[in-house]
Amino acid sequence: MSHDFELIGREKSKIAVLLFHGLTGSPFELKKYGLYLHSQGFDVYSYSLPGHGHNIRDIKAVKYSDWLNCAFAQFERLTAKYEQVFVSGLCLGAVLCLAIAEKYGKKVAGVLTLSTTLYLDGWRMPWYSFLLPIGLSTIMRYYYIYPECEPYGIKNEKTRKVIKKLLEKSEVAADNFPMSCIYELLKLSALVRKNLYKVTSPIVIIHSVEDDLASKKSAEEVYKKVNSTQKDLILLNDSYHMLLYDNEKEFVYQISSQFIKSQINIKNDSKINILNLNLGV
């Protein structure tokens, strides 16, 4: 079942926001976030990444280069149609946003990363996580499956119950992580980490200090290494990994919208400055 969505306004917008979902997730997890951004006047797009959205077995055959190519193609398609394209994503989606910013530089109007997963070092990692490098380097990466378990990346208990039920039906996301896709995520993360200095677009990094999958180390490394003149690191205190469904989701929505609006204003201001220079003012 596909959860892809395109939220396009009646009036032609010049601003598009491209959203990427997380590992084993689907665009469903971005729907409310997308609707909020759309209500603020932006066209919003989100599609399933390769290997996601159908059978969980599909993800085992996917390489990180498939995700990258898909993300690049989607970004290029939108840049041909819109004046400014912002990218935002959660978990794996955040890593893909960084990869886009590394490749396309200033063509990216702005980057919003949520729960960036450069390292899998959150507090929910099991006791045997020290065996991960061995598991990943052997045939076991195609057999091991990490079952999704409490707290499902969500601190809010009511929401957690709802998500747990949806996961049991496998309607919106997979209820486990095959190790092969963790392997691909970590390879992608290593590549992105190496090139973080190429990121020059304005960026907002939002991460929870209690993230159960990726500690704040990932967000801090992004903040430290990117070369954007405008960069902000926002640490949340009352959420886990799934920021868009947790206690501070409204705050995340508002910050995202404010950030995009501020970049539109900056672009408009710089146009005025250029006009003034031409007129010799």
């Binding site: 055959a61 045997y128 065996l131 045939i139 076991m140 195609y142 990490y146």
Partner: protein, 109 residues
């Protein structure tokens, strides 16, 4: 040390074979996860015990033992989802070969 190696190799070969036939495709993901962790621990010990045998035998024996020790990682480098069955049985065969090799080494000494 050879006995440790042989015991671990036997356990590893058995768990991979049984896993392939009865466990890895099960829908009970918690059981599959725990079983896989157990196999991974066996792989770790298999490699360590194989390396610990490097003090026995001649130069050619040492090369073979190193290859056996690294075999899970060499196979892991080339494995793909499409060829997982082939590489799993290849790993199984290499472990059996390594056991025969170490038994031969034991009698040679």
């Amino acid at each position: 040390m050879k006995h440790y190696f042989l015991t671990t190799a036997f356990a590893l070969a058995s768990t991979i074979f049984a896993g392939k036939l009865y466990v890895f495709d099960k829908k009970n993901t918690i059981f599959v996860a725990n079983y896989s962790v157990f196999v991974t621990i066996l792989i770790l010990f298999y490699s360590l015990f194989a390396l610990s045998l490097l003090r026995y035998g001649g130069f050619v024996d040492k090369i073979f033992l190193t290859l056996f020790a690294l075999s899970p990682f060499i196979i892991g480098k080339f494995v793909s989802y499409k060829l997982i069955n082939l590489f799993t049985y290849m790993q199984f065969a290499i472990i059996l070969l390594s056991m025969i090799f170490v038994v031969r080494l034991q009698f040679a000494n």
